[in-house]
């Protein structure tokens, strides 16, 4: 039965260091015309997979203290970007790209984020029809690893996620390093460097049980209306993806030289809304994520350093980061809000730490960063008035040699959907334009492309 379902679901088996790549129904249409060429390109053509991720921080920045003056390479580092100095050669800054509201209300901390992620700002959840760009990318490259994507949040809340297929289908996050460890390196971990490999019949059995579940599809879909049919089909897509995952467990994985199963993390004590504690947790989570990537457990991730409308605080303060962005008076001698500035700098310190940690993982002749593209972004630019013009974006990594790092690109009011479009194209999604309404664009950010 599994075979019948799979054939209907279209299997593309390519060789990726020996691993089968199985593509489910959702990207069938995307690849029929491509003869798999785009797919192969995505995989870098070599032995190392190219991965993709997002890194999110809340409440943006203070534009005059964050946006570099100089475009191109060796851009200047204003005070809030100073923390990235050590990793500047890996990081591109994309400034001045706008979310365009198209006459819709600017829902604070929401419109900007959906605009960046889906290429269209909406004001109700039912209006979100399009998947976020990380999902479009994971549909294209996520199937060859055990986890199609790892969604991570550091605020302890699994609902902190900005990755969704539509307004009612949101990918819940793993909300702590301890849970991430259990998920990736727990009982089901398939060590790619283990000398002997024997398929475990338990995986075979689990897979055949899921095939049994999948067999119920037709009968159930016949019972329900069209909206329910879409929902049930989403469920059956999830079943198929899980069958594919289990199929991977039955094959000897390709070796991964940088992969070392980490030790279980020791939970960090303290209030996770405190920025110091948050950064320590983030460091731990990043180390685990880096190993999950190096061990080929996933090719796509979404790391949420904090929430939109950042809930970060300093222990003992009545007023947190988000409240400060709106309430703190501009210090006349400094010319900016000093508390807000400190939190924004703290967020950039965490981002620099993230890039450094992944860059420290050696892989092939280079590092993990060489085979990775990370899009970092916030949900506003200047948080005080929820500005969605010039929402800050940064990129890290070379994406298998397809991206030039270390540049500053000025967007000059162009739609921010150009960035989501470019990221998809870099990762091999066959798409020539993306976004909705005024944000529909067919122009890549060509400055960063090799």
């Amino acid at each position: 039965m599994k075979d019948r379902i799979s054939r209907r679901g279209f299997i593309l088996r390519g060789v990726l260091g020996g691993a089968a790549v199985t593509v489910g129904i959702p990207i069938l249409d995307a690849f029929l015309d491509e003869n798999g060429a785009a797919f192969a390109a995505t995989l870098g053509g070599g032995s190392l997979p190219v991965r993709f991720g997002t890194w999110f921080w809340g409440c943006g920045m203070i534009p005059e203290r964050w946006v570099p003056q100089k475009a191109g390479a060796n851009y200047d580092l204003p005070p809030q970007l100073e923390p990235i100095r050590a990793v500047q050669q890996h990081v591109s800054v994309l400034s001045g790209f706008d979310v365009m509201l198209d006459g819709k209300a600017n829902l604070p901390h929401i419109s900007g984020n959906t605009g960046v992620r889906t290429g269209e700002a909406v004001d109700t959840w039912q209006a979100i029809k399009a998947p976020t760009f990380d999902i479009l990318i994971s549909d294209a490259i996520g199937s060859g690893s055990y986890f199609r994507a790892l969604d991570l949040s550091l605020d302890g809340n699994p609902q902190t996620s900005y990755s969704f297929r539509n307004g009612s289908s949101i990918n819940a996050s793993v909300p702590s390093p301890v849970e991430l460890y259990e998920k990736v390196f727990g009982a089901d971990f398939h060590d790619p460097n283990k000398a002997d490999f024997k398929p475990d019949p338990k995986f075979m059995v689990r897979k055949s049980v899921l095939s049994g579940v999948a067999e119920q599809r037709r009968a159930l879909l016949a019972k329900v209306g069209s909206a329910d049919r879409i929902r049930l089909d989403q469920y059956f897509t999830s079943v198929r993806e899980m069958e594919d995952k289990l199929a991977l467990q039955l094959q000897k994985p390709p070796p991964a030289e940088a992969c070392v199963r980490p030790n279980a993390p020791v939970p960090i004590k303290g209030d996770i809304t405190d920025i110091g504690v948050r950064k320590a947790n983030h460091k731990l989570m990043t180390q685990l994520l880096g190993m999950a990537l190096a061990c080929n457990q996933t090719r796509v991730f979404n790391m949420n350093f904090d929430t939109a409308a950042a809930e970060l605080r300093r222990a003992g303060d009545t007023t947190g980061y988000h409240q400060s962005t709106h309430e703190e008076l501009v210090d006349r001698s400094l010319g900016y809000q000093p508390t807000v500035d400190r939190f924004a700098v703290g967020s950039m310190e965490a981002w620099a730490d993230f890039v450094q940690t992944l860059g420290d993982i050696k892989e092939g002749a280079g590092t993990l960063l060489d085979n990775l593209l990370v899009v970092a972004h916030s949900e506003v630019s200047f948080a005080k008035n929820h500005d969605v013009a010039g929402i800050p974006v940064m990129l890290a990594g070379r994406a298998g040699g397809r991206v030039k790092p270390g540049l500053h690109v000025k967007g000059s009011g162009e739609p921010i959907s150009r960035i989501g479009l470019t990221a998809q194209q870099i990762m091999g999604v066959p798409v020539d334009s993306w976004g909705g309404g005024a944000m529909r664009s067919n122009r890549s950010v060509s400055e960063i492309l090799v």
């Binding site: 199609r148 819940a172 999830s238």
Partner: protein, 555 residues
């Protein structure tokens, strides 16, 4: 400026929540979203846990993180008709199921749950597998399995047993499959084969009824009533409804409703600054949630009380963990009812720590958040989304030398018309609760200034929460909001124009019968419209059910 603050507060509150909660589902000017009608509802986490305890015993642990429920217009019950299961979510359901099933085969459970094994008369265990799949399938899928389904289950068990080299492993795998099946994870209505068009079959009726009244799947008696066709007859349905409402398990159903209605699950992610509120902790938060639910069932179920009295009651469920928050000694272990004396500011659920702490900042109160939450949940009103370009600097400067209290800081900005429109709605109620700090502890002063808790609700003046609670008690908006919310909860969808006559009828019945929650739920459970397939509810059917209630109350 007032509006600005609410908007900020809204965003601040929403910051910790998921996108679905952040995004209002209704367009401006509309109370609720129009979402497609559905005959498929995903089990909520609480429902899943209840079913596992019912079918396998309460000793079986359910461990793992569930796919989060989606709250639509305030209710996860409505969201359950809109969600599916993501790949990550299915992974979680699978892991949870494997952990459950492993426990079923432990020596202390195996005899009770499985109860058979391969033997001389059943060498490969086919009969045993058929028995288990049939028996457990009935409870998990809430209907008898078709012969083909049982055969497939047996074949799968034997096949897996062969691969694994043991029968139990094979049977366990089949049970995991049943626990990850859409027939279990979703409640999917089956149209009736006979009877009036547009209705559902007896087993689907039993399922709707059971989740409404007990928040779990049907028990054996209800399944038998479905099998015999009794649920298709008014007297048979009535007998089951009355049996279930009379059961102690009805309290579980009521708790589930109020947990959803008051959005108490958000307490799981609530954090307070430990330096500012040392009395608050995650265990206090959990106890506060439990306190509210126990206070409600004490009044509405144990005492068959008037819903409106929830806003004036002085009988608070109490436990030792809450002593420091309420500043009272709690000597008794466990839970008991504590009665606050007349004149004490603790009166009604508006004065309970759950709602007060939930709708406040980590380090201070927020009249706007409290007012907004109360307007939206208890009065079913919509507070518009805030505008983006706002400046709160003066409003919330807690160190302002002249504006010492929150009220003063808020009122300093009443002159801004744009802000005032919404803040008049939210802050008035919220300021009436200012004598309770961000953790729900009573205080009389803020920065050494006495706190003024006077205000107006619907043009009527009040001084403090007890007065305010009395105004809520007397407000038809409060009872009407409960009626429409219970209906939406039961039906798993929002009210559309064609439902309004039913709602009007329910409101009349609720008032005529003394605002008894149990009677309201009973009327909904007896309404033939409750068992209609989407878009096919019979018109005018509610009258019968109301008449039934009136007759019963009169007798």
């Amino acid at each position: 400026m007032k509006l600005r603050m609410s908007r900020m507060a809204l965003a601040a509150a929403a910051g910790a929540a998921g996108l679905s909660i952040l995004l209002s589902s209704a367009l401006p000017g509309k109370p609720n979203a129009v979402i497609p009608q559905s005959s498929v509802r995903r089990l909520t986490e609480a429902q899943y846990r209840n079913v596992i305890a019912d079918v396998f015993g309460s000793g079986v642990e359910v461990v793992g993180r569930f796919e989060p429920d989606l709250r639509v217009d305030g209710l996860t019950a409505v969201g359950s008709s809109a969600v599916s299961i993501t790949p990550g979510g299915l992974e979680q359901y699978d892991a949870i199921a494997r952990h459950i099933v492993a426990q079923l085969f432990a020596p202390e459970n195996r005899a009770k749950v499985v109860g058979c094994a391969p033997g001389a008369t059943d060498p490969d265990g086919a009969r045993c597998a058929a028995d288990v799949v049939t028996r457990i399938g009935l409870r998990l899928f809430r209907r008898p399995l078709a012969l083909g389904e049982v055969r497939a289950g047996v074949a799968q068990t034997l096949n897996s047993a062969g691969k694994l080299g043991n029968f139990d492993g094979g049977l366990a795998a089949t049970l995991v499959g049943m626990l990850t099946s859409p027939n279990f994870l979703f409640r999917i209505d089956t149209p009736a084969r006979s009877g009036p068009a547009g209705t559902i079959d007896g087993y689907s009726k039993a399922t709707r009824l059971s989740f409404l009244l007990w928040n779990t799947s049907p028990d054996d008696t209800l399944l038998a009533a479905a099998a015999s066709g009794a649920l298709d007859k008014p007297e048979g349905l009535r007998a089951q409804v009355d049996r279930m409402i009379a059961s102690p398990r009805f309290a579980d159903g009521a708790r589930a409703f109020f947990d959803d209605f008051l959005q108490l699950s958000d307490i799981d992610h609530l954090s307070k600054d430990a330096l500012i509120y040392p009395a608050f902790s995650t265990s206090v938060a959990a106890a506060a949630r439990e306190q509210t639910l126990r206070t409600i069932t004490d009044l509405l179920i144990d005492h068959k009380g008037d819903y409106r009295d929830l806003f004036t009651t002085r009988r608070f469920a109490m436990t030792r963990a809450l002593g420091p928050i309420y500043d009272i000694p709690v000597a008794k272990p466990g839970w008991s009812i504590y009665e606050f004396p007349a004149g004490d500011p603790r009166a009604g659920i508006l004065a309970q720590a759950s709602l007060l702490a939930l709708h406040a900042h980590p380090g201070r109160t927020s009249p706007t958040l409290r007012g907004k939450a109360i307007r939206e949940t208890l009065l079913c009103q919509k507070i518009p989304s805030p505008p983006a370009n706002v400046n709160f600097a003066v409003v919330q400067d807690v160190n302002n030398p002249t504006l010492k209290t929150t009220r003063q800081r808020l009122e300093a900005h009443l002159d801004d018309e744009e802000c005032a429109s919404c803040h008049k709605a939210t802050d008035g109620i919220g300021l009436g609760l200012e004598q309770f700090d961000g953790a729900g502890q009573f205080r009389r002063t803020e920065h050494d200034m006495p706190i003024d808790v006077t205000g107006k609700f619907d043009k009527a003046p009040f001084d403090g929460v007890a007065n305010l609670g009395q105004l809520f008690h007397d407000s038809p908006k409060v009872s009407a909001c409960l009626v429409s919310t219970v209906w939406r909860y039961g039906n798993g969808r929002n009210i559309q124009a064609e439902d309004q006559p039913v709602i009007d009828d329910l409101n009349r019945g609720f008032a005529a019968n003394g605002y008894r929650f149990m009677d309201l739920v009973r009327t909904i459970a007896l309404d033939p419209g409750f068992y209609a397939l989407p878009r096919a509810r019979p018109a005018g059917a509610i009258t019968t059910a109301s008449a039934t209630i009136s007759k019963r109350s009169a007798s």
